[in-house]
Amino acid sequence: MAIELPENVVLSRLDALANWCRKNSLWPMPFATACCGIELMATAASRYDLARFGAEVFRFSPRQADLMIVAGRVVMKMLPVLQRIWLQMPEPKWCISMGACASTGGVFDTYAVVQGIDRFLPVDIYIPGCPPRPEQLIQAVLDLQEKIQAEGTLSGREFQRPWEEARRRVFQPQLVQLQVPPLEPSQGSETANSQEAQTP
């Protein structure tokens, strides 16, 4: 039996409605460390105008943002900072890995550069390119909007506190002791001396 709706009334699922609100009002937090950051700025500026897709308000405080755009290479000294910023962002939140360096390390296959932030962070959208064009970033935002609408976020997860354990791990890290062979003979001679000093 059909129920007749009064005028000016639309039915929807609450989840879909919330997703629709969220996807059209993304607040990016720019984590720009390299040349991708320049393209990110160009995307937000008037020529490419990310405001057309509701994501123009860049917030430099993670507390006020829900989309982290990692633009540029992340070195091993920077990664704990990046993780800390990610944990400081309130739920619901998403992450775009912009450019070859953030996604894979790019040409910087050296001891200091993390080979893709997705090894240590959840990433929703990857953008290839070196650096990507602003159109690609806009496409990524559109794809992310589609993903937000499809996947939904109103699971109540943002009201739970599953991240406390993760916070403990990042803020007080218990890192694996690397098995590094001694590199300096000067250190080796020191230990030899100390052993000699201990034996008598």
Binding site: Y111, A112, R119, W163, L175, L178, V180, L183, E184, S186
Partner: protein, 170 residues
């Protein structure tokens, strides 16, 4: 191709007379001096006080491992400048393991502070008497000195030694 020299013949002769134990040579308009490591501090002090090299432009280091016909492992390089007559001088000290410690020249040029820390960070050469002997670029928990030629380019796993955050828990 000709280079305008950054020194005068007169200075070269004076230096040669003043430091007979050091070998002087020229290359493409630059004057270079190799100093034995025992006399390093004394020579540098006299270069500053007597010859007016009042500016320390840079301290850097070269790892001669795998280098053709190299006799020594490290070459510590001091680039000096005289701001009165614009002359320049390259001072080189050869170092070998395990004696990788030289006196700090922080007392002569304050600019040596961060430069010596960088050489320690990248090559593992200690500077005796440095007021703040810490790493400058790499994280403090880093154990290696990555600009040495026997350090692998991709590291020994330092770059991936971090806790992993997954979606359900963050």
């Amino acid at each position: 191709m000709s280079f305008r020299p950054t020194f005068t013949e007169q200075t070269q002769q004076q230096l040669q007379q003043a430091f007979p134990e050091c070998s002087l040579s020229t290359f493409r308009g630059d004057l270079r001096m190799v100093v034995p490591r025992e006399q390093m501090y004394e020579v540098l002090r006299r270069l500053k006080d007597q010859f007016g090299y009042d500016m320390l432009v840079d301290i850097t280091c070269v790892d001669y491992l795998y280098y053709r016909e190299a006799k020594d492992r490290f070459g510590l390089v001091y680039l000096l400048a005289n701001t009165q007559n614009n002359e320049r001088l390259t001072v080189r000290v050869y170092l070998n393991e395990p004696e990788l410690e030289v006196p700090s020249v922080y007392g002569l040029w304050k600019a040596a502070d961060w430069l010596e820390r960088e050489v320690w960070d990248m090559f593992g050469i200690r500077f005796r008497g440095h007021p703040d002997h810490r790493r400058i670029l790499l994280p403090e928990e880093f154990t290696a000195h990555p600009l040495r030629k026997d350090y692998p380019l991709q590291g020994r796993g330092e770059r991936h030694n971090f806790p992993v955050l997954r979606r359900p828990e963050s």
